[in-house]
Subunit: 523 residues, 2 copies
């Protein structure tokens, strides 16, 4: 094999209609992803309008990249509650509370989730019933609705406005997105949150199926019900919300197969995992100086995500004490009270340029809560992970990384200095973590086109062709028994049975005739 | 919406290892596709070695684009028989022969197919057992096996040589390629050759299932058996040919969803439909002069594929007489005796530059036998079709085009001048055919990267990463009952049943105790 460097220049001259995109986002960390797409769409010359609730946590009213429509309505849920939820979860795990305490907290969360979705439905009603507002949206002649179907507002509004629909999606009102649209054999497709892989034992497969059934029931009952009710109210009883949602033209899926296990997919699913990843920009001078001061040992980056700036003091102290004993320097995104055991090697920051730090040549490990964005950035830059999962899908995300040999995972609630220190040292010094992560990184970066370009291409595709019907099966309109060919199988079994019975009857008749004939012959 | 023209320049600088590619092609029209890939791979600097049988129909020993290994063995099947088969098929349809005659011809064809595959297996044995040959192939240190799994030789050889495997595929030893790897619900995925769409009535679904079962049985029994036997012989009884074949890293599928109905797919399936299509080159001077002489009426192109240069004289005469009455000029690929009814407007040619003619601005319609390549070229250039299907998948291909409103389909065996003329005039003059075809063409051309580049990218990807394991499910290694969760469902039903029985028994016991107690109390 001889080596060379090729430059593949793919020049597509396409007539793109610079169009109008209506965005119904999902608040919280999901907005970070949506905003990346919006900035790119804006840079391509498209006009973006974002619908936001008056009490939005993250979605700013004014932006150079979009116009906003602020709906005078409180619908973004309760940020304080989610923060409280995280700390209560930790407390329960720390105190090893009984199942019942944990379960009731989980139910409380689901109730709040349900409440949030109810409010989003009311916000949609608010928009539809406001003649002036809905007329102005209509008159804007948008070309496409771009939405994160973690809430169903965008789906309902798109149907009301007869707009083609593009999803920027990982989770939906009914759970993980693939399960709503692609065949997902539970024998080798682990349901997210079940902490399983694509190779399961018999009892893991049993667990996977039960887990799926329970989750599906909960999602439909607690969350989906609000949208179905609204759907019935505006579009009649013959149309279900689930159907509207399955009719989306393109699903921009925020994962890929460096993260996800291989599984069936659909022609209108486009994988844009790591679309927010990019080469690092230079760090601010003070941060760069701190990083450089780490010498050959390098630095460790620690961040527990948007929601969690600090942990209970006892946990913070165990963590800080462990970090203090590292020869590395540490940059820790920490907003609360300064831990008393903090070492001189550790810098606390309110906010950190995560992508730029993970892409720095001196970075040795990433202590992460396991949010999808952070994990994908870590993969992109080839940085092994020490996982401290807190809530939601974080345990499952990190279990996938552990399975791939690029992370160790600890229970943050019961963390001890020595255990954490050992885990850190192991991940930093045992070469297999780095080697495996670099392999994943190489796969992640090796795509025919960058995932962000792919996302923009497909949004523009839907605008150009007013949908993507040729990529979307309409099989969701079939009844469940027809979809699974149960009626056909039953029919064929019946035919076989009747044929067998008929054959048997004929043979019996012939035999009887033969038996009866004999006596006559003998006569 | 404001309009503008954007130039999307996607510049990927990738370090490509210019490598060594071993190709085990399938002879006949399939070679045309493989050769397109080979030429492109060669132009990228890769070294291509093609394995061919001594009696190959199409695969030349010497080429500027590849080296060849000629195996001194007759394995390419009987071209004369296939030509005879086509004419016999026509005769049967013309004479409206009985089912039995047609069936016996079909069985004869299957026998010949089986024979061809047996010979390919022998050719593989020939290679493996020839120490000098196999050593030289090994020593060449190829990076990947590229094969068309319409025969299984490449799959077996790749496993023997421990090479990663890339398929350039539409059909396999077991039928249509998707059915071997992607979940294919028979409720909305029509089995090719069944002449069905993705919206079926109940009885069409019954037919689809029966058709699938029969075809699968035939393929496995008549064709697959040879490969399984060879697999057992060289790799032991624990490894089935089907498993080897499902383990391919990338499936470059020679269709896309402008042609195919939307259906589940897999992450390692890459759609390269129309990869051979390209903007037209200028025509040879005489052909261009003939085309220009057509004036405003334009031209009709007619070709019945590689195998069929002419038809029985009576059919040829009906066709020629119809063409003679068109105001258009006609270019007809025709190699046999000149039809007596041929008009002055019709030019017969031994060979025609199909892509360049279909891409000519004066072309109005394409009279085609319905081979996949021709159909995709027709879609690419937006030319409506009059279909005259002969054998194999041609009826099914054309039925898809008819369903999309871009073709009419006639039975060539019983064709009459007036019917053919009417069909031609209808397709040329009824605007809906052209409008629908232009819509398909617009979709076909609107891809993030050209399909040929995509094919090359993924072949190189497999070379770079020595496979594409992260995109390929290993679920094919599961038993059928585990794959379909039948064991899990049975177990859960059993648990439910036992729980119900136990509950019933406990209630009965309590009731009995209560009943028995009363008499005592009364005592």
């Amino acid at each position: 094999m001889f080596h060379s460097v090729f430059t593949i220049a793919i020049i597509l001259t396409v007539s793109v209609d610079c169009g109008r995109i209506l965005v119904f986002p999902h608040d919280g960390s999901h907005w970070v992803n949506m905003n990346t797409l919006i900035k790119e769409l804006h840079s391509k010359g498209h006009h973006v309008t974002v619908i936001r609730a008056a009490d939005s946590w993250y979605i700013k009213e004014h932006s150079p990249h979009y116009n906003s429509i602020t709906v005078d309505f409180a619908a973004s849920g309760d940020e304080a509650f989610f923060k409280l939820f995280v700390s209560r979860q930790l407390q329960i795990r720390q105190e090893k509370c009984q199942f019942w305490t944990s379960f009731s907290l989980d139910m409380e969360l689901k109730k709040r989730f349900s409440e949030m979705h109810r409010k989003i439905c009311e916000m949609v009603v608010h928009i539809i019933e406001n003649q002036k507002l809905i007329s102005s949206i209509r008159e804007a002649k948008n070309d496409v609705m771009l939405t994160d179907p973690a809430n169903g507002g965008g789906v309902l509004l798109a149907h009301y406005l007869a707009l083609p629909l593009v999803f920027n999606v990982r989770w939906t009102v009914h759970g993980e997105a693939h399960f709503s649209i692609a065949p997902s054999p539970l024998s080798y497709v682990p349901f997210p949150l079940a902490l399983l892989t694509d190779r399961m034992t018999f009892f893991q497969r049993v667990y996977n199926m039960l887990f799926y059934i329970v989750r599906l029931f909960l999602y439909r009952r607690i969350v989906g019900a609000h949208y179905s009710a609204l759907c019935n109210r505006y579009f009649g009883p013959d149309l279900d919300y689930f159907e509207l949602f399955q009719a989306a033209d393109i699903w921009l899926m925020r994962v890929d197969f460096v993260f996800e296990f291989p599984r069936p997919t659909m022609p209108n699913i486009v994988y844009i995992g790591c679309f927010q990843c990019k080469p690092p920009s230079p760090l601010p001078a003070d941060l760069e100086a701190f990083v450089q001061s780490s010498g050959e040992h390098g630095v460790v980056i620690m961040s527990l995500g948007t929601l969690v700036g600090d942990l209970p003091p006892d946990i913070d102290n165990e963590i800080a004490a462990a970090l203090a004993e590292l020869p590395q320097k540490v940059i820790w995104r920490h907003t609360g009270k300064r831990p008393s055991t903090l070492g001189n090697n550790t810098m606390l920051v309110d906010w950190l340029p995560q992508n730029d730090l993970l892409g720095h040549s001196k970075t040795r490990a990433f202590v992460s809560h396991g949010g999808t964005n952070g994990i994908l950035e870590s993969i992109y830059h080839g940085i092994p992970i020490v996982g401290l999962p807190l809530v939601f899908d974080q345990h499952d995300n990190l279990s996938r990384m552990k399975y791939r040999g690029v992370a160790t995972v600890l229970d943050v609630a019961t963390i001890e200095k020595n255990v954490f220190l050992e885990a850190l040292q192991h991940v930093i010094n045992e070469p297999s973590y780095k080697i495996n992560m670099l392999k994943l990184s190489k796969l992640e970066r090796d795509k025919p086109i960058p995932p962000l370009d792919s996302a923009i291409f497909w949004i523009e595709f839907v605008m150009r062709h007013k949908g993507a019907g040729h990529l979307r099966t309409k099989s969701y309109k079939m009844s469940w028994y027809a979809y699974h060919s149960i009626d056909v199988i039953a029919f064929l079994l019946l035919v076989v049975l009747l044929t067998a019975l008929l054959t048997f009857a004929v043979i019996r008749y012939i035999c009887c005739r033969a038996c009866m004939k004999k006596p006559f012959e003998q006569d």
